[in-house]
C-alpha cells in the first residue's frame, strides 16, 4: 500500500452509481472502459439498496445515477425511492433515449431531484451521427418534459473538435430549451475518448475562441442559467485537482459492483479494486488497498514531492499519468513542471495532423462489437 496509515480519512460525499454499462448510444468519447463488455454482470436491486444505505450512513449525500444508460434498469424507480428515503440528493444522468413523460412523472413521485440530459451537438445531423442513433429531436422533447414536470434541468454537451465551432448554436439551444444549468464539458481523454483522441482534440485556437464565447454567455445569463465549464486540461499548465484528492470525496460503484476511487481507476494496474459483494462500503473506504493507494502524498515522486502546489492539485490525475506515460506514480504530464510535459504537445500535434473530413481513420464508436476488440 502506497498510502500512509496516519492520514486522516474524510467521509465520502459523492456517490456515483453506474447502474449499467448497457447503452443504446455509441458516443465515441464515452468515459466507460473500452472493454466494458467483459464486465457485463450487474448488481441486483437489493445490492444497490445495500450500497446506498451503507454509503449514506458514512455521509454520502450527492448521488449520481449514471451508466451506460441508467434508464435501461427497470428497477430505477425503486432505487430512486430508496435513495430519497435515505436523504440523498439524487441526480439522474441520462442520454434521454427511451424516456417518456410517464416515466419522468413516475421518477418524480419516487423522489428524484434532478435530471441531466445530454445532447451531442446543436444540429440534428451531427448529434445523431455522434450518438450513433437517431435521437436528437427526442432528446429536446425530453428536456422540455423535464422542465414541465418541475425538475431543475441540466443540459450537458460534451465538447470536442466535431462540435466546438458550434458553440454559439449550442448556447442558443440551451436558451431555447430554458436550461437551468448548462454543463459544457470539454472532453477528458479517458476510455473511448483516449482511443479517439487524434480525431476529437481541438486546436488551441478553437478552444480559446469557444471559451471566450461561453464566458460572454455566462455573464449574459447570470441569475437565469448557471454554467458549469469543465476545462480542457491539455491546454492548461497545471493539472486538475482530480477527484478533489484520491479517496477524499468521491466513490464510484461500477455496474458489476467494483468500487473505484474515480470512474477511470479500473484502467490502473495493481489496485485490485474491491467489490461491494465482498466488502462493506465502510471496509472499502477505510481499509482497502485501492482507496488508500494515493491518499496523502507519500506516494509522490519528484517534481510533485517537493512542489509547493501539491496540496492544491495532488499531482493531478493518476489515470492520465498512467495512460500517457505508463507510470501511475508520476506527475500528471499536463503539468508544465513534469519532465514528460512534451507528451501533451505531441498529442496536440498528432491530433492536428488528422483531418476528420478525409476519413482516413474513422472514429471508433462505443458499441459491443468494438468493445470486444479490447
Amino acid at each position: 500500500m502506497a498510502g500512509s496509515s496516519k492520514i486522516k480519512i474524510t467521509p465520502p460525499r459523492w456517490l456515483l452509481a453506474e447502474l449499467t454499462y448497457a447503452c443504446p448510444l455509441q458516443c465515441p468519447y464515452c468515459a466507460n472502459p473500452l472493454d466494458y463488455q467483459r464486465h457485463s454482470k450487474e448488481l441486483s436491486t437489493e445490492d444497490w439498496k445495500r450500497v446506498l444505505t451503507q454509503a449514506r450512513k458514512m455521509g454520502a449525500v450527492q448521488l449520481g445515477l449514471s451508466g451506460g444508460e441508467p434508464l435501461v434498469r427497470k428497477d430505477l424507480e425503486e432505487i430512486v425511492q430508496h435513495a430519497r428515503a435515505l436523504g440523498y440528493y439524487t441526480n439522474l444522468i441520462t442520454s434521454a433515449y427511451g424516456m417518456d413523460e410517464a416515466r419522468i412523472i413516475a421518477l418524480k413521485e419516487a423522489g428524484l431531484d434532478h435530471i441531466q440530459v445530454s445532447i451531442q451537438a446543436s444540429s440534428r445531423e451531427l448529434s445523431d451521427y455522434l450518438a450513433g442513433t437517431k435521437s436528437f429531436e427526442h432528446k429536446k422533447q425530453v428536456a422540455r418534459w423535464v422542465k414541465k414536470q418541475g425538475y431543475p434541468m441540466v443540459l450537458c454537451v460534451v465538447i470536442h473538435r466535431e462540435n466546438i465551432d458550434e458553440m454559439p448554436q449550442i448556447l442558443a439551444m440551451a436558451e431555447e430549451l430554458d436550461a437551468d444549468y448548462l454543463e459544457l464539458a470539454n472532453t477528458q481523454y479517458y476510455g473511448w475518448a483516449h482511443a479517439n483522441r487524434d480525431l476529437l482534440l481541438p486546436t488551441q485556437a478553437q478552444f480559446t475562441k469557444a471559451e471566450k464565447i461561453a464566458q460572454a454567455f455566462k455573464e449574459k445569463v447570470e441569475g437565469k442559467m448557471k454554467i458549469y465549464y469543465v476545462v480542457p486540461d491539455f491546454y492548461e499548465d497545471r493539472p486538475k485537482a482530480c477527484m478533489n484528492g484520491w479517496g477524499t470525496t468521491f466513490l464510484t460503484i461500477a455496474p458489476d459492483g467494483v468500487a473505484l476511487p474515480c470512474h477511470s481507476a479500473r484502467e490502473l494496474p495493481e489496485l485490485n479494486c474491491p467489490n461491494v459483494n465482498e466488502f462493506s462500503i465502510e471496509e472499502i473506504w477505510h481499509h482497502s488497498k485501492a482507496f488508500n493507494f494515493f491518499r496523502g502524498d507519500q506516494w509522490m515522486q519528484e517534481p510533485c514531492r517537493s512542489c509547493d502546489e501539491k496540496e492544491k492539485d495532488f499531482g493531478g490525475c493518476r489515470c492520465q499519468a498512467y495512460l500517457l506515460q505508463g507510470d501511475m506514480y508520476a506527475a500528471d504530464p499536463v503539468c508544465s513542471k513534469s519532465p514528460q510535459h512534451h507528451l501533451i504537445q505531441e498529442a496536440i500535434d498528432s491530433a492536428a495532423k488528422h483531418d476528420n473530413t478525409q476519413n482516413e481513420q474513422p472514429l471508433i464508436f462505443r458499441n459491443s462489437k468494438n468493445s470486444r476488440l479490447y
Binding site: P11, R13, M58, G59, V61, Q62, G64, G87, Y89, N91, D113, H114, Q116, G150, P152, V154, D180, Y181, G223, K226, Y228
Partner: protein
C-alpha cells in the same frame, strides 16, 4: 440584487435545505453541488416560507434570540441568497 420589503420570501423549489447528520450542519443541495450553512444562515432560510416578508423574518429572529439590530446582517445574507438562486421573490 436588492430585497423587496413588500414581497414574501420563498426558499427555491429547485434547491433542498436539509440537516446533515454526518456534518452536523444544515446544507443546501442542488444539481451536482452542496453548500454548508452556518446556523444563523440556516435559521434565516427556514423562515423563507413564501408567506413572511423581510420585516417578519427580522422580527421573528430578534424575538428568538432576544436581541435587536439584526436587519442589516439579514439583508446582506438574503441578497446573496437571492443572487445564488436559493430564494425567490415574486
Amino acid at each position: 440584487m436588492a430585497i423587496n420589503k413588500i414581497l414574501p420570501l420563498k426558499f427555491s423549489p429547485m434547491h433542498r435545505l436539509q440537516w446533515e447528520e454526518a456534518q452536523q450542519k444544515e446544507v443546501i443541495l442542488y444539481p451536482e453541488g452542496m453548500v454548508e450553512l452556518n446556523q444563523p444562515s440556516a435559521e434565516i432560510l427556514k423562515l423563507c416560507d413564501g408567506i413572511r416578508v423581510l420585516g417578519d423574518i427580522v422580527e421573528t429572529l430578534e424575538a428568538k434570540f432576544a436581541t435587536t439590530g439584526l436587519e442589516k446582517d439579514i439583508v446582506n445574507f438574503l441578497e446573496d441568497a437571492l443572487k445564488n438562486g436559493w430564494i425567490q421573490q415574486n
